[in-house]
Subunit: 200 residues, 2 copies
C-alpha cells in the first residue's frame, strides 16, 4: 500500500528531533502490524488550503500509480486561520471550506481518503478561535462527503506533552513526545485502522 499524507507543518513533523512526525509513527505502527506500507510525507510549512488545492493532485499522482493500493490523508487549516498584520485571517473561512470540498471530492475519486482536522497553534488565541470553528465545519463537510474525519483540536489542546514541547520550541510545534501522543490518538481511531487495513 502507498500513502500520501498531505498538509502543513504539523503533517511535516516540524520540530521533531526524531524526524518522524505523526505520519512516520503511524507508518511504524502499521508496519509492525505486518502491513507493507510505503509513505510519502507531503506536509509543507506555511501551506494553506489554497496552496494544497493547487499542488496535491500533481504530487500525489506522481507517487500513486493506479495499479497499486493507494490511500490519501489530509490535514490543513491552521495556516488559513493565521493572523495577518491587520488581524484578519490569511484566508476567509468560506474559502477554506470551498477548497476543502474541492480537494476531498477529487481525492475520494482517486483513492480512499481521510481527513484530520487542523491543530491549534497555541501561541495565538485569535487564530485558535478561528481554527476551532473551522475544525467543526470541516467535520460537518467530511460527514456530508462521506470522508472519515478526526477532530484533533481538542486532543492537542489538552495534551500536556504537546503544550510543554511547543512552549520550549517555537511556540506552536511540539517535539517527539507530542507527535507520538497524536500518532497514538490517530492509530486508536477505528476509521484510521480500517482505512489503512489494520482492522478488517
Amino acid at each position: 500500500m502507498r500513502i500520501c499524507f498531505i498538509g502543513d507543518s504539523f503533517v511535516n513533523g516540524t520540530g521533531d528531533d526524531d524526524a518522524l512526525g505523526w505520519p512516520g509513527r503511524v507508518v511504524c505502527s502499521a508496519r509492525s502490524n505486518g502491513l507493507d506500507v510505503t509513505y510519502y510525507n507531503l506536509g509543507v510549512r506555511r501551506d494553506t488550503s489554497e496552496d494544497i488545492r493547487r499542488r496535491w493532485r500533481t504530487e500525489a499522482e506522481r507517487r500513486l500509480p493506479p495499479e497499486n493500493r493507494n490511500r490519501l490523508a489530509f490535514s490543513f487549516g491552521a495556516n488559513d486561520c493565521a493572523s495577518e498584520a491587520d488581524g484578519k485571517a490569511r484566508l476567509a473561512h468560506a474559502k477554506t471550506i470551498e477548497n476543502a470540498e474541492l480537494i476531498l471530492r477529487s481525492a475520494s475519486s482517486m483513492a480512499p481518503t481521510i481527513m484530520l482536522g487542523p491543530a491549534p497553534v497555541l501561541d495565538d488565541g485569535a487564530s485558535d478561535a478561528r481554527i476551532k470553528r473551522l475544525s467543526c465545519d470541516l467535520q460537518v463537510l467530511g460527514g456530508d462527503l462521506g470522508v472519515p474525519f478526526l477532530e484533533i483540536f481538542g486532543f492537542v489542546s489538552g495534551c500536556a506533552a504537546w503544550r510543554r514541547e511547543a512552549a520550549r520550541g517555537d511556540g506552536a510545534h511540539p517535539n517527539g513526545e507530542g507527535y507520538a501522543a497524536l500518532a497514538d490518538y490517530i492509530w486508536n481511531w477505528r476509521e484510521f485502522r480500517r482505512w489503512i487495513g489494520a482492522d478488517k
Copy 2:
C-alpha cells in the same frame, strides 16, 4: 535550515520499518547536534532521472522560500539502469548524464547542492553493472560542476546488514539496519557535514 532530499525509493526509505530511511536518520543526527533542520523527503519509487528532472524544481520551490537557508540533496540513477523486458536499460546512459547535468546546474543556482551516487539493486547483475558505471560518470560530472559527490555503490555492495535485509525483503531494499549504516556513512562524509552546517 530547510532541506529537500530528492530521488528514488532509496531516498524514500522504502522497506524501512522505522519509517526514516537515511534522510530521516541524518536529520536526527543534525538535530542532535543542535541544528534546526526541517526536511522534505522527495524520494519517489521507480523514478528515473527523467521523472526527477521534470518534477524536482516545482516541488522544491514550494518547500524552500528564498528567505530561508536552503539545501538540496539528490540521489538517483538506479531506476534508469533497470532492465526492461528486452534486456536494455530503462534510460540510455547518455540521457541520464544529460539529465543529471541539467538538474545539478539548475539546483546549484538555487541552493547549496550535493549528490549521492545510485545504490546497487543487488538482485540484477546487469542493472548493477550499469549502475556502477553510471556512478563513476556521475562522480566525474559532480567534479566538473563543483557539486560534492559521494559514491555509495561500493559501500552498499559491501554492507552485510544491507545485503541481509534486502535478501529478506524485496531483494533490493534494506530495512532499518541497512539504512542506518548508510546514514552513518553519509554523516561521516566531511562534505556532508560542511553542507549541513555541522562542521564550520
